[in-house]
Every structure is written in C-alpha cells, then in structure tokens.
C-alpha cells in the first residue's frame, strides 16, 4: 500500500518536472514570438516606453491545428476572427481590410477631445500599432470631452491614461506612448515609423508643423479640428491632394485669435469630428471607400448641418508640397513654427501681454486690501456676459470689452454715484479673465479721458490663485 503510494508520488514528481520544462520552453518561445513581432512594428528605440498588450491573441500557442480551415488568403487567427467578426461580415470590408488594419500603424498627435475617439476606435477596430503623443496631463475640465480619460486619471499624463484605456478595450494592439509634444526636431523621425498621421492637436503652430512634416515624410494626414459648435475635417497629402498650406498659406493673425474670451467647445463636437477622423484612418489604411481628400467636411453642430466643400488640388507654388518646396527634411527641423504662427505650440494660457505700465495696474493682493479697507471705487469686469454670469466679484459692473466704447457713460455714472463730498476723482479698476482685455480697456478708458483707471493684473485667474482659492476661475 505504502509502496504503491510512494511509486505514484515518484511518477507524479517526474510528470511535474516534465511539465515545468515544457512550460519554460513555451514561455521562451512566446517571448521570441513577441520580440519578432515588436521588430516588425515601428521601432521604439528612441522612445520612453512602449506598452504592449500582454494577452496577445492568436499566434502559435502550441495547440494542435484547429479542426477548421482558414481561408487560404488570410492570416487572421480564430481570436481575431471572433473579435472583429462584425466588421468582417461587412461585404465591403472583409478579411483583407482587417489584415491591413492589424498590420497598420497610426500616429495620433494630441490625446484630447479629438484624439480620444480616434484612439478608442482605432484600438477597438484592431489597428496594429497606435502611437499617442501629448505633453499634457489630464485635468478635470478635460473630462467633458476627452472621453478616453476618467476621474481616476486626473493628474496622470494623457498618453499613459489613453494607452491604458486603449489596452483595456483591446489588449492585442500595441500602443506607443510619447508624453511630449511634437516639435520640428522630433517630427520627421517619429512620423517615419507610421503609415498614417492624425492631427488631433489644439493649436495653429502644431497644425502647420504636422502638415509640413507629413509632406516631407510622405505620410497621409487625417486632420480634424473643433471649436465652439463647429468642426472641420480633411485628409491632406493623400495621393495628389493638397496639403494644409496649399489651402491656408498664411496663419490667422494673432490679434484675431488670442483674446481672453476664449471660445468654449461642446464635448460632442470634437467627439463627432474625432470619430470621423477614425473613419478616414480606417479608409486610408484599408483602401476601402473614398477618403476625404481634396474635400473639407464642415460640421455645424448648431443647425445639424454638414457641408462638404470641394478643395483645390495641390498648389504648385506651395512652399511645402509645390514644385520648388522650401520646406525639406533639411530645413524643417530648424523652422520656427511658433514664430511663424505667432502662437505657442499649446492650447494653454496664452502668453500674458504687457500693454499698460505698472503705474496703471494693481495686483490682486493689493486690490483685495483696498476692498477690505472699504475704499470706494468702481470695478468694471470686461468679460463677455455669459462668462460673467458664471461667477463674478461682488459689486462689479459687467461691460464686455467689445461694448466698452458705447458704455463710457455707464462708467461715469457709476463713478459719480460712489463719489462722496470732497472726494477726488473716483478710481476705476478693470478686471477680466486673464488680464489681457482688461489692459486694453485701461488704455481705451485713459484715451477717453478717465485718469484713474487701473488694470487688475492677471485677472480673475490670479484672483483665484492669490486671494480666493474658492473662486471658480475658468
């Protein structure tokens, strides 16, 4: 009895050992397999971190051959067929298109409102390698539109948050993280590793850079933009189609776009445009359908209208894609895009302008002392009414900057009302969101004959930072 038991034990130990050896062999094989696949995908030599989904589907699992026959012409595994079955069933799509997606690689510049749906859908549909680039971290006010991030990712880099979400949806794709911005020096090297580039950025300087680099690197560019209730979408540099510069050779002048009254955006608008971008990427990668080349789709969300404008072909005079290009792989890395676009490569706070001198301004801290000392004065808030309605300082007078010239009498009347017997002229303080429009208002009011007018430096954002942290500065 004891002997039999002992014998069985020995048997068992042997078997266990054999399984261990087999297990180690398979692990090694799997490792080799992953390495080979990595080499086939865009290289990650100069990259901080490449995240690879670990539950790779398919591949050789040392399983016996399946008792079914795959179509001779494709390489999809059973798991891939199952996962992508609903798009494989599309007659216009099929296995060939899916193979192209699985082999394809896409660089997404920007992991914000546009980049979120692009990355989500491209991961879901099985694009083999997705590069995500963004220098920013997730903030609470991103979440209404940047749906790839969530409350738990606030404070995290957008790329790591986006990559985690993509892999949660589809762990069989590869995501490469670039937690920094695209610039003239890194653009060509990074783009060279991808099949298609997606412009999901939020600023003019980056848009020119992305377009130029796509022309030089010869990559199709799926470009989307969204602001307020409007969206625009075009596939640039595709076959004989134009590039961004062919259409917009000169950037918008700074004056027209850099005001304190920044436009907001309704979350679904970039959501729709980004989803369209994902669609265009799929079409370009799979060669299914007709990409939006030499056409611009314009979304008017307010009236639920979509306009499609037929664009010009390549401009032969274009400095990027014309007959005598000035932008080449040699000149591009040294091109100053921020200077050209007269705006920074970020959507963050525009640089603070210095319009009025220190003698015509007061810090928030000093203004607060003045209020606490009950010194009578007039406070004019020159933000747009809809911004003022969100939150404002007590006893302030809302006169939007654009309406200032017609409202001088209102300010004079307010000054008169607060004036006591024997007072000198009443001081007028001007505030806005960031302190740029308010400086212009101070200048305008001084020209209109007001002598004691002062700018409250840094606007309500500084007020929230330096005086009252509970003030909801936007």
């Amino acid at each position: 009895m004891f002997f039999v038991f002992f014998h069985k034990m020995a048997d068992f130990t042997l078997e266990l050992e054999a399984l261990r050896v087999e297990n180690a062999r398979l692990k090694e094989k799997l490792k080799q397999h992953l390495l080979v696949e990595d080499m086939l995908l865009p290289s990650s030599s100069n990259l901080p971190r490449a995240v690879i989904g670990m539950n790779r589907e398919g591949g050789e699992n040392a399983c016996p051959a399946p008792p079914w026959i795959a179509g001779l012409s494709h390489s999809l595994t059973a798991a891939q067929i199952q996962r992508y079955s609903r798009q494989l069933l599309l007659p216009s799509f099929g296995v060939k298109a899916q193979e192209n997606l699985c082999k394809g690689s896409v660089l997404i510049v920007g992991a914000g409102g546009l980049g979120s749906p692009v990355a989500l859908y491209l991961a879901a549909c099985g694009v083999g390698c997705i590069g995500i680039m963004d220098p920013d971290r997730v903030e609470l006010h991103n979440l209404h539109r940047q749906v790839i991030h969530n409350e738990a990712s606030v404070g995290e880099t957008k790329v790591s948050s986006a990559s985690r979400t993509c892999l949660a949806i589809n762990s069989s794709v590869k995501v490469v993280e670039y937690p920094f911005g695209l610039d003239a020096r890194n653009a060509l090297d990074i783009m060279a590793q991808y099949d298609v580039v997606v412009d999901a950025s939020d600023n003019v300087a980056t848009r020119y850079l992305v377009s130029d680099a796509c022309v030089v690197a010869n990559k199709p560019l799926v470009s989307g933009a969204a602001l307020g209730m409007e969206g625009q979408l075009t596939v640039y540099n595709y076959l004989k189609g134009p590039c961004y510069r062919c259409l917009f050779p000169t950037p918008s002048p700074q004056a027209a776009c850099q005001r304190c009254s920044d436009a907001g955006v309704l979350g679904v608008v970039p959501g729709i445009v980004g989803t369209f971008q994902a669609l265009e990427v799929i079409k370009v990668l799979t060669k299914v359908g007709e990409p939006l080349s030499a056409r611009m789709l314009i979304l008017d969300a307010l009236s639920s209208r979509i306009h499609t404008v037929k664009l010009r072909g390549k401009n032969t005079q274009c400095v990027a894609c014309g007959e005598l290009p000035q932008i080449t792989h040699i000149t591009l890395p040294n091109f100053d895009y921020e200077k050209f676009a007269a705006s920074p490569m970020s959507d963050g706070t525009p640089p603070r302008e210095q319009v009025v001198g220190e003698d015509q301004s007061i810090t928030c801290t000093d203004y607060n002392k003045l209020v606490r000392g009950h010194k009578s004065h007039v406070l004019v808030d020159v933000r747009e009414k809809h911004q003022y309605d969100i939150a404002s300082l007590p006893d302030s007078l809302n006169i939007p900057y654009a309406k200032l010239p017609q409202q001088l009498d209102t300010i004079r009347a307010a000054a008169q009302k607060h004036k006591h017997e024997g007072d000198e002229d009443m001081s007028v303080y001007v505030i806005c969101r960031r302190g740029n429009d308010s400086q212009r208002a101070v200048q305008d009011l001084r020209s209109a004959g007001f002598n004691l007018v002062y700018d409250i430096t840094g606007g309500l954002l500084s007020w929230a930072q330096d005086v009252d942290s509970t003030f909801p500065a936007l």
Binding site: V204, L227, L247
Partner: protein, 97 residues
C-alpha cells in the same frame, strides 16, 4: 454663433440677383451673423461679393488673408462670375481640438 442670424446687403444699383454668403467659425463670430444675402450686380464675381462682405463687416478684414472661399461648394482661387442663387462660403480654419 447664433445660427439663425441673417443679414441683407443691398447695393442700391441695378440688381441682377442674389448670392447667399455663408460665414463659418471666426468669420461668423466677428461678423455676428452666419448668413448674408448679397444683391449682386451685372458682371460681379466672387471677388466683388467678398469685398461687399468686407465692407459691410469691417471686422472681417482682420482675417481676410486666411479665409478659404468656396462658391457652390467648390474652392475658388481666382475670381469667378456669380449668378442668382449662388452660395458663397467664407471658411477660416479652426484649430481647436
């Protein structure tokens, strides 16, 4: 951004028809309207229409060099003759994301 706002621009001269000018993005914001009905005169081109819009809304001059112009959904580079019922679109690029 008020999508329904419309304006009518009459020339006071011999009228041969009307062109609808659609303003997008920043152009709409600066002009405060999204659509303008332009009275056109004999021999008018897209360039005349464009200038008529600039005259009526001088604020648009700040972005005149960076707007795309499309006539009946076709991009135009050189002035093209317009006729009654045409639609002219002024499209500045947007850059948000």
């Amino acid at each position: 951004m008020e999508g329904s706002q419309q304006e009518y621009v009459g020339s006071g001269k011999e009228k041969v028809g009307e062109v609808q000018a659609l303003l997008f993005a920043k152009a709409q914001e600066l002009a405060g309207v999204s659509q303008i009905t332009l009275e056109i005169q004999k021999g008018w081109t897209t360039a005349n229409c464009f200038e008529a819009v600039m005259t009526k809304y001088p604020a648009l001059k700040a972005i005149r060099s960076c707007m795309m112009v499309a006539l009946n959904h076709d991009y135009v580079t050189e002035p093209v003759a317009v006729k009654d019922g045409d639609e002219l679109a002024l499209i500045p690029p947007i850059s948000g994301g």
